[in-house]
């Protein structure tokens, strides 16, 4: 047995040679995969890369058109009809668990799996898309007094050299009294994944709330959304609760209470009585205090 130990060295060398040469995915394979996906991809389809660590390479080759922020920093996968999983090393994304594989093909060392969403829900209005002076008004509520927040376009504040940085403050945003801002940015959530959402933060001490009125929202069978707090805040659970309450046509739809420490969590409120209607949707965030709170929501077909 002892005399066989040098074989370990031989295997080690063999594995090393394989891992540093033939296992590496060449650029041509990525380009071929991109072209294959591009030929079939529809607006309601998702592109994702497996394993997650290969994501930067995938984004580089697929570009914003195929794997831009909306797809990369999605709230979840339910809004996508089909998913194109571009995988290497036999990896598979857990998010597609339960999806039906309808096609698979290879481009060199890359496997493209096409999966169908068993519970696809068509999005009617995405609140993230409505953030801006045309469709959204924002006000800070302090002890019942409502102070309008103003829309500003300017340079963003995406952090400095220190880590953790805190979330980026987008250049385009509503600025409220007391320094609070409302704008769209990508949240680094507790799961370390990106989520494009509406930051309503920070509200500072006291009972301040921020009220957002989204105009011209087309309602569906449900209001579907998520909430989260910047990961560094979130990873130390606290008893604090942050609430986002939704209402439309002067009637409450529902409210989500986010517990600091819960991570990026989803909520859904049925709105069968609003199906097909178009009007204002009001979202009021309270209890955020110093936290970098972020939420997103959409109206969609399909009841929860």
């Amino acid at each position: 047995m002892l005399a066989a130990v040098p074989l370990v060295g031989i295997v080690e060398l063999g594995l090393h040679v394989k891992q540093t040469t033939s296992d590496i995915v060449p650029d041509e394979d990525w380009l071929a995969a991109r072209d294959a996906v591009k030929a079939k991809l529809q607006p309601d389809d998702l592109v994702l890369f497996a394993p997650f660590w290969a994501d930067p390479i995938g984004r580089k080759w697929f570009g914003d058109e195929l794997s831009g922020i909306k797809r990369e920093a999605r709230p979840d996968e339910t809004r996508f009809h089909f998913a194109y999983e571009v995988g290497i090393r036999g990896a598979h994304r857990a998010e597609l668990e339960g999806w039906k594989k309808v096609e698979e093909r290879s481009t060199g060392k890359i496997t493209i799996g096409v999966y169908e969403n068993p519970s696809f829900a068509k999005v009617r209005s995405d609140l993230v898309d409505l953030v801006g002076p045309d469709r959204l008004t924002v006000a800070r509520i302090d002890n019942g007094a409502e102070v309008p927040c103003t829309w500003q376009r300017g340079p963003g504040q995406p952090g400095g050299l220190g880590v953790p940085q805190g979330p980026a403050i987008p250049g385009d945003k509503f600025v409220c009294s007391g320094g609070a801002t409302v704008g769209v940015a990508v949240l680094h959530a507790l799961d370390h994944h990106p989520h494009l959402c509406i930051f309503a933060t920070p509200m500072g001490a006291g009972n301040a709330a921020v009220r957002m009125r989204f105009a011209g929202v087309t309602f569906g069978a449900s209001l579907h959304g998520h909430s989260g707090v910047q990961w560094v805040n979130e990873r130390t659970p606290s008893p604090e609760r942050i609430t986002v309450a939704f209402s439309a046509f002067d009637r409450p739809i529902g409210q989500n209470v986010h517990r600091v420490g819960a991570g990026w969590t989803g909520f859904e409120f049925p709105t069968p009585e609003l199906v097909g209607k178009k009007g204002d949707l009001v979202a009021e965030v309270s209890g955020a205090g110093p936290h970098a709170y972020c939420f997103e929501a959409d109206t969609r077909d399909g009841a929860p």
């Binding site: 002892l2 060295g9 594995l15 891992q19 660590w53 390479i57 920093a73 990106p194 990873r235």
Partner: protein, 614 residues
């Protein structure tokens, strides 16, 4: 201790050869000249030169690869501190009275006083001599880094000497080779940091203590005291060394101490320990000017800094840890994933062999104590007065033990227990000994089959060649992996763990310290314009400035935020994802212009602003 016939044979044959030479020389000339005697001495004592040769080759390798390795965050801070200390050394030479004035000391030595002064002083002196004065190195950084590289040379030399003296010359050679062919060690050995230096001083201190115990006499004991002081002055790991020495001394000298104490009411503590307890702290204070004033409060401050050190983020198995409890599996998993597997297999063999001897000794001792004979071992193992095996195991256990405690921070990756590696390598060398004996037996049998005689063996040269071939077969993978890991040493995982991609699959940390920025140089040279603004993320400002001054990167203008930059980068670590996402928000794009990879695994993403800045 040495049960190795090979080692004895080798030494005896060397000594015999030297004697013969001496005799021949004496016949020619009654009084051989100095060079003749020197040559004879070298032939009789080849080990320091063999070890020195290994160390020299390795240091040359480090120097040859230094230019392509970017500067880590900590190096940036130490370059700055060492430059400050240079001013003090100059002042000490020119106006000594001013230099030892408290105001001068505090103005200079307060910088980076959370770490002792030895290495930073050596970095400074090396820079003053090898860069400024003698212009041996073109790069300031190489001059700063040189003492760290020399410390790696020292570590290899002592590892070789320890392995050779304790077990066999073959053990020594393989121990040094194993230590040098660890990709993480190779990376750290380049740096103007303290991790490889403390590894070198840890084994040097233990080696000198062992020699002091073996040789006796005041000289070795005093040396042990001085070396312990230097170890204290290198890094705070030295605080743990008493946990190696005291139990070992108790086992080796316990009986004698108790007998002596019973007779004379005095406990005779080994001189080396007394020296370490007295000379050690004196050297520590003497070499660190910051401690010359307010000594005790400042020592307290130094200790408090490390005892209450903040926890940094580090990914392990897909989870970022940032505070206690640290996962107990971290250290064993990281060792398995980063130390070449052949080294670990040989270590396991060597450790099992030596542990068996230790247990056999314990069994014999216990049998003698209770007046009966156990069925195992059949015969008592060779007596080792120095209890070398125990010392080796203690050196490993004390270095690794704290990483099984839940409150020990793990952010340093493998470098924080790097002190265990020379001893791990020595046992790997011992394991190779066992393997070689079996291989030699096998070769002998094959030769018998092919020859007409029934006692075929390899002659000296063929035996040496065969040993080298077996060593090459064993360590070819480790050599290839170590060479290939550069300059991404912290991203490298061993082939049995899947290599760099395997590490990424397992969710193991891919890098820290932001040193990989320099590896963007070829792409930046092609894709950036001079003076363009560049956000360099985790690279320390001082490291960035040094890279620019040494023209390791194109002439970009470094800025502190993606908001101010045309080009922004993110070093891929799980907890750095926020930087990535913040750049998406700022640049309104998630598409990198370039992704620097190692074996297909993203190391850095580079983004270029495509929308006009507001």
């Amino acid at each position: 201790m040495s049960e190795e016939a090979d080692a004895k044979e080798a030494k005896e044959s060397d000594a015999a050869a030297a004697k013969k030479t001496d005799a021949a020389e004496e016949k020619k000339d009654a009084g051989p000249d100095l060079s003749t005697r020197l040559r004879a001495w070298v032939r009789a004592n080849p080990d320091p030169f063999i070890g020195g040769g290994i160390a020299l080759v390795y240091v040359i390798w480090l120097l040859a690869t230094a230019r392509s390795l970017g500067f880590s965050r900590d190096e940036g801070f130490y370059f700055g501190a060492s430059s400050d200390y240079s001013r003090w050394f100059t002042m000490l030479l020119e106006t000594p009275s001013k230099a030892i004035d408290r105001a001068s000391i505090d103005a200079i030595w307060t910088n980076n006083h959370e770490h002792p002064s030895l290495m930073k002083s050596l970095f400074a002196i090396s820079h003053m001599l090898f860069h400024d004065k003698w212009k041996l190195f073109d790069d300031d950084s190489t001059a700063f880094r040189f003492p760290g590289m020399m410390m790696m040379g020292l570590a290899l030399w002592v590892t070789y000497m320890f392995g050779t003296r304790a077990y066999s010359r073959r053990t020594g050679v393989i121990a040094a080779v194993s230590l040098g062919l660890m990709p993480r060690v190779f990376y750290h050995a380049h740096l103007a940091c303290f991790d490889v230096p403390i590894m070198a001083m840890w084994i040097t201190c233990i080696y000198v203590y062992w020699r002091a115990d073996k040789e006796g006499g005041l000289g070795w004991a005093l040396l042990a005291g001085v070396v312990y002081g230097l170890t204290l002055e290198t890094k705070h790991n030295a605080w743990m060394l008493p946990a190696v020495f005291l139990p070992h001394a108790l086992v080796v000298h316990g009986q004698a101490m108790s007998r002596h104490a019973a007779r004379s009411s005095r406990i005779p503590v080994p001189t080396s320990l007394v020296a370490m307890a007295t000379i050690g702290p004196a050297v520590f204070v003497l070499l660190w000017p910051w401690l010359w004033n307010d000594t005790l409060p400042r020592i307290q401050e130094y200790v408090n800094f490390h005892v209450h050190h903040e926890y940094y983020n580090i990914e392990f198995l897909g989870q970022t840890y940032f505070g206690p409890p640290s996962p107990r599996s971290y250290m064993p998993v990281m060792i398995a994933a980063t130390v070449p597997t052949i080294t670990l297999v040989l270590f396991a063999l060597g450790a099992f062999d030596r542990a068996r001897v230790l247990v056999a000794q314990l069994s014999v001792w216990a049998g003698e104590a209770i007046g009966r004979r156990f069925s195992w071992p059949k015969s008592a193992p060779a007596r080792d007065r120095q209890q070398t095996d125990l010392l080796v195991f203690l050196a490993i256990a004390v270095a690794l033990g704290p990483f099984l405690l839940p409150r020990t921070p793990i952010f340093g990756g493998t470098k924080h227990w790097i002190t265990a590696y020379p001893f791990l390598a020595i046992l790997a060398g011992r394991g190779f000994d066992l393997v070689w004996k079996r291989v030699e037996l096998l070769i002998g049998r094959l030769l018998v089959v092919r020859s007409t005689t029934d006692a075929a063996t390899l002659d000296g040269t063929r035996r040496l060649v065969a040993q080298a071939a077996v060593a090459l077969v064993c360590f070819g993978g480790a050599l290839a992996a170590t060479v290939h890991s550069h300059p991404f040493g912290l991203s490298a995982y061993v082939p049995f763990a899947g290599g760099t991609a395997g590490g990424a699959d397992l969710g193991l940390n891919r890098q820290f310290w932001g040193f990989t920025t320099e590896s963007l140089a070829p792409w930046l040279a092609e894709n950036s314009k001079p003076g363009e603004t560049f956000y360099f993320m985790d690279t320390a400002w001082a490291s960035w400035v040094r890279m620019q001054e040494e023209k390791r990167l194109p002439p970009l203008r470094g800025v502190g935020s993606p908001a101010d930059a045309e080009l922004s980068i993110v070093h891929h670590e799980q907890h750095m994802n926020e930087v990535d996402y913040n750049i998406w928000t700022e640049y309104r794009s998630s598409t990198p212009a370039y992704v620097l990879t190692h074996d297909g695994v993203p190391i850095i993403s580079v983004y270029r602003r495509t929308h006009a800045r507001r």
